[in-house]
């Protein structure tokens, strides 16, 4: 399900993807494996867990508590040296990526009921992307997303 343009998403950034508390483009890696590109960049839909008006700090606190309550291994747990990075859906979907094989869509990708898990998915899909040769194109997408971050704070 596509996310509303008025909503926002949060990426859980690992310690090595953060510098001085700030998320870097490394946090938005669309990993390339032997099986091919990952289909999307995993994020969480903030307004799925907290509906109604609130600032990002409040919404992230709700997400943080939800993530920390998950069974080990189900999610990337937010860490003290990592970060939570917030991106507005509209900013992500508004990125002009015509030269990078299309655009980006944000969609809800729940793994079970009550799951805010979502994805930033390239359109057309990664199955159409060139393989390793397009590493610079993927880096440009990561830079797009890094620049779309509107708020961030420590993971815990």
């Amino acid at each position: 399900m596509p996310l509303p343009l008025t909503d926002s998403i949060a990426r859980t950034c690992r310690a090595a993807q953060v510098d001085g508390g700030r998320p870097t483009p490394a946090a938005f890696e669309l990993r390339y494996t032997e099986a091919g590109h990952e289909a999307y960049v995993s994020v969480n839909w903030l307004e799925f867990l907290h509906q109604g008006a609130a600032d990002y700090q409040t919404k992230l606190q709700v997400l943080r508590e939800w993530l920390l309550a998950r069974p080990k291994g189900e999610v990337i747990a937010p860490s003290r040296n990592g970060a939570l990075a917030v991106l507005p859906v509209q900013a992500v979907q508004g990125m002009p990526l015509a030269e990078a094989n299309g655009s980006l869509d944000c969609a809800h990708e729940p793994r079970h009921e009550g799951d805010p898990h979502s994805g930033i998915r390239p359109q057309p899909g990664v199955e159409t992307w060139p393989r390793q040769e397009d590493a610079p194109g993927r880096l440009a997408v990561q830079q797009f997303l890094f620049q779309a971050v509107c708020h961030y704070e420590a993971g815990r």
Binding site: A15, D19, T24, L139, A140, Q142
Partner: protein, 158 residues
């Protein structure tokens, strides 16, 4: 598509997609690569700050993935910073395979470099913000990249 491969003909290396021919860094107020700004102590401080950044990333990456950073990528970043003494300290992160990603921002422009191997890089440059940003990306080599991309030289200069 603005994808730019490294072309074998040296004459072709002087142009980026910004259409800007190679310029000596001194043409826009920076010393040539290899020169030292200020005294030796200042440069020593900068190199020590680079090393501290690398050590912090070593630790963070091991915490995340229980393995070391890609040694070639780490060395390539270190060489890049040593050979461009007028370069400011970037934001530094690592991808899951241990490749280093460095990012510089300056006046609405942004340069991101992936140190793909000991000699090769992937890069992405944006100038401006939002939908009006001009974007450009490609592959290059550490030894030639700054000389070929005057926009990148401006973004990383301190």
């Amino acid at each position: 598509m603005t994808y730019e491969a490294v072309l074998p003909n040296p004459a072709s290396r002087g142009l980026s997609n910004f259409g800007q021919p190679f310029q000596d860094p001194r043409a826009f107020g920076m010393p040539p690569s290899g020169a030292v700004i200020g005294n030796g102590l200042e440069e020593l401080d900068r190199l020590q700050a680079v090393e501290r950044k690398l050590l912090a990333l070593d630790s963070a990456f091991f915490e995340d993935y229980s393995k070391p950073l890609n040694g070639s990528s780490r060395e390539a970043f270190s060489v890049f910073m040593r050979h461009h003494p007028w370069a400011s300290l970037p934001l530094l992160g690592a991808e899951s395979d241990g490749s280093l990603i460095a990012t510089w921002e300056r006046g609405g422009a942004c340069l991101t470099i992936r140190f793909a191997s000991r000699y090769e890089i992937d890069f992405a440059i944006s100038v401006g913000t939002g939908g009006g940003a001009q974007r450009h990306w490609g592959k290059s080599q550490i030894a030639f990249f700054i000389a070929e991309h005057t926009q990148a030289a401006r973004i990383i200069s301190r």
